[in-house]
Symmetry: C6
Subunit: 204 residues, 6 copies
């Protein structure tokens, strides 16, 4: 058996530039919290969704919910309504060899998708976590303390969290907590206003 690469255990570091289609999420690993970059791309196609990065079933379903929300609300979001007719969408979560599962990358995938569909970069200094529902609600997730510490270590100073996780902020050491700008949201579209650059209800 030939093996082409093994996973290493170094922490991810912040992107140098704000990029289109790349949003920063937060995960919990055996080594504590870390940031993770969700990458979305669009290409001429016929309406396929490709999901890679060894994503578990729950995580794949949250990508589908994010995409369906956008397709059902395209006009409101300033996205071309029939985009899914003309494009294939690909979402990838590096590193390729590490299995990932869970619903809390939902809002991150949503932001990366809207970013690539509108061609607007995501602010590189923002990290986020939160489960998305089909109607756009943001549900709470776990591991908030580890995730926030992980993002802080990666120099992130702006963090978007579900409103229902506001109470979990108390567990974070004061020194860290006071140095972060927190946004607590209940609906996914609030994340766009915070995370997309130059985007405050702009439509194309």
């Amino acid at each position: 058996r030939k093996y082409l690469g093994k996973p290493e255990f170094e922490r991810e570091s912040q992107e140098k530039k704000s990029l289109v289609g790349v949003a920063c999420g937060m995960v919990v690993t055996l080594a504590g919290g870390d940031i993770v970059y969700i990458e979305a791309t669009k290409m001429p196609g016929k309406g396929s969704l490709i999901l890679t990065g060894q994503l578990g079933e729950v995580m794949k379903e949250s990508a589908q919910a994010a995409l369906s929300y956008i397709r059902a609300n395209a006009e409101k979001l300033g996205v071309q309504p029939d985009f899914y007719d003309k494009y294939d969408i690909h979402i990838h979560v590096p590193e390729g060899a590490v299995p990932k599962e869970g619903p809390s990358a939902g809002i991150t995938m949503f932001v990366a998708l809207v970013s690539v569909l509108k061609g607007v970069p995501v602010n590189k200094d923002v990290a986020m976590t939160g489960e998305i529902t089909l109607r756009g609600r943001v549900l709470p997730v776990g591991g908030i303390k580890e995730k926030v510490l992980g993002a802080y270590r990666a120099n992130i100073r702006t963090i978007i969290l579900p409103k229902a996780n506001e109470i979990d902020i108390e567990d974070i050491p004061e020194g860290v907590r006071n140095n972060i700008r927190f946004y607590f949201i209940e609906n996914v579209e609030e994340a766009l206003n915070i995370a997309l650059e130059n985007e405050h209800r702009e439509s194309t």
Copy 2:
């Protein structure tokens, strides 16, 4: 392995507004009864049905039965007859990480679907449970007492049940029972009259 979120065990609370495509069902968990929101959306497409929320096979089949009933009876329901040609349908049952199984969300899925296809909101103060058959009959389900108590805790005061479950109402404590308006139905279309706002046989 990177994990993005864990399920928590808090009870669901009632929606603040009546919404299009969102119907309130009732489930039984290890922690007793609870309400659950079934979300349905439609988007420009070619006739696909996407089902997410870690639904088991029986639950997925009940979504298919609800959709086929609507497609076969579109005109009678006031839904555009060839809608399935032009749209993709997505049904999601949060929370994304919790496995769900069973046939009793059938009428709930049916109501959410008709709501989104007609653009008519579902009354937020109504919860329902019941198995649906392909010809539109409503079959009885279990756990009625736990489900009704769970809905009551979430401030629901109007509940739709299968006619054949009428006898199970006796097990509910009198104080709760007397504060709820019950509807017992034998055919799914009766649920529309009760649950859809401003809808009493309106056609588009």
Copy 3:
């Protein structure tokens, strides 16, 4: 894990009206014989067959045989020859949560399908059982005594059986046997003459 409904063990009772697309079959369960309603519907589509009700592989194959027989003999049956181009077909066997297997619902599925394709109701007082082959032969099945007793309990007084099961009628108590009108058939089309209302070789 959230559970939405559990199967109950009450016997099925006879439909109140003769319905289009609904044919009455007979099954054997741990509790003895019972009737079961096979539901068929058609909707605008492109030629898909949807089968629900937790059907096992043999049962699904018998649905395919019934449908292929109709597609290959459409004109003779008075069914529009290219119907499968324009429609999707859905067959459901309630209750949704109960697994079902075996070939003996073949003629029942056939009758339900012809009924819905011609828009002609199935007589509500008739129950049937029998395996169907692709060329339209009716093969014998087992559990005849239990099935007939179960149908009798549900007030059914007309029963269609495979010719080769005629000998099994002797096991049925005389009081029941004499109160039932039996038809023994060798070819599926004979079942149409008996079970479809107002149908004696009518063509559309």
Copy 4:
């Protein structure tokens, strides 16, 4: 769990009429040899092959080889060259609940398919067995003695066998052997001349 029928262990008997699309094969079961009817039908479609009767993988592959041979040699066989564009093909091997495996129904499926594609009946007094290859060779099979005895019991008096099985005829009791007309073939098209009624190189 509801069960709709069980397999019985009666021997198959000869068809009363020569039929289009129905060819008689021979099998070996725990109860010795028996005949089995392979049924083929065609219906307006887009080029699908449906295989039912609980066929194992090897048996399904032999159906594909038979069909590909016909598609590649349509003109020579007098079959419409683009038939697969316009039709769906369904092959069924009753009884539905009995699992079947093995390559020796290959020539039987071939004959049933050519019969239905040309609308020419298969002689009801002929049984056959033999593996088919993609180029039309007929390969030997096992259980010849049991198969021939089984066919003889069902009143079959004409039997087609692979040429390489000629030697196995010696094991058959003289009384039976002398009462059967044997044909030993090396190429599948020889089977058409023997088994199809009124067919000796006729083309449409």
Copy 5:
């Protein structure tokens, strides 16, 4: 369970005629080496590849590599460039019931495919073995001594081998070795010059 045929253990014998679409490979079995005929056919279709003969995953992948090489180099090979648009391709390796695995039938499948696509027969006195890569290289395989002896027993006197297997010829008894004409190739197209009749860079 009904069984229709069992594999026998007789050796394959040489084809009597050179045929279009049939190329002779070599295998190793428990009984030593043997020849095996790879059959390829083409039929009007839409670009499907059907593979039968109980082929393992590696063997199926080598069929795909052979076909892709031809599709990518159609013009150079004298094959109609858009043939895959108009045809379905079927490759079968008898006997149907015997499982087969391994990469060494690659060049044999390639030759059979080019033969059927050009309508040119393969010389019946040639046997070959060798793994094919997507760019047309021929890689060495194992069991050379057994394979050559098996081909020799079947009266084959011309054998094509990978260049890197030339050294394995020394193990073959001198009497056999001297009676065989060996060709050692590094690129698949060399096999065409040797094995296709009347084919030395002919184009259609």
Copy 6:
């Protein structure tokens, strides 16, 4: 069971010519490091991706990421923007029988794909390894020392590595290290400038 070939354990040797669609990667096996040729081809088609060579799931996903990157950045790369409409793509990693897994062939697949889509050969004296992300970042991989030694043994003197693996070069014996020209890259497009012949930002 018939077996057509077994894997051997000889090291791969360098290609003699620079080829279109063939890029040289590096792997680690039980026998140490080795080079491996990734082959890519394109053929008239409708937008399918075929992956062969017994590739594991992570390796298949890295091929998808490479292809999506090219489809999303076609114009910038000088590749025809709608190429995926008109072509099928096939990537093969010999030897066919050896299972392969891991993300580190990502940049190698990318280079092979761009090479075949532009018709530009890959320099035969260059080997590479590195994981690719959807946005084109190059991530570090493991086994650098073994891989470099394996390439050196195959006479490779130019090696492309991820920037984050620069530190691993220290483990390589000085004699080998000083004889190799290393390139350390952070973005996949840098690999094109190094590995494609006559290619320094040329567009078609």
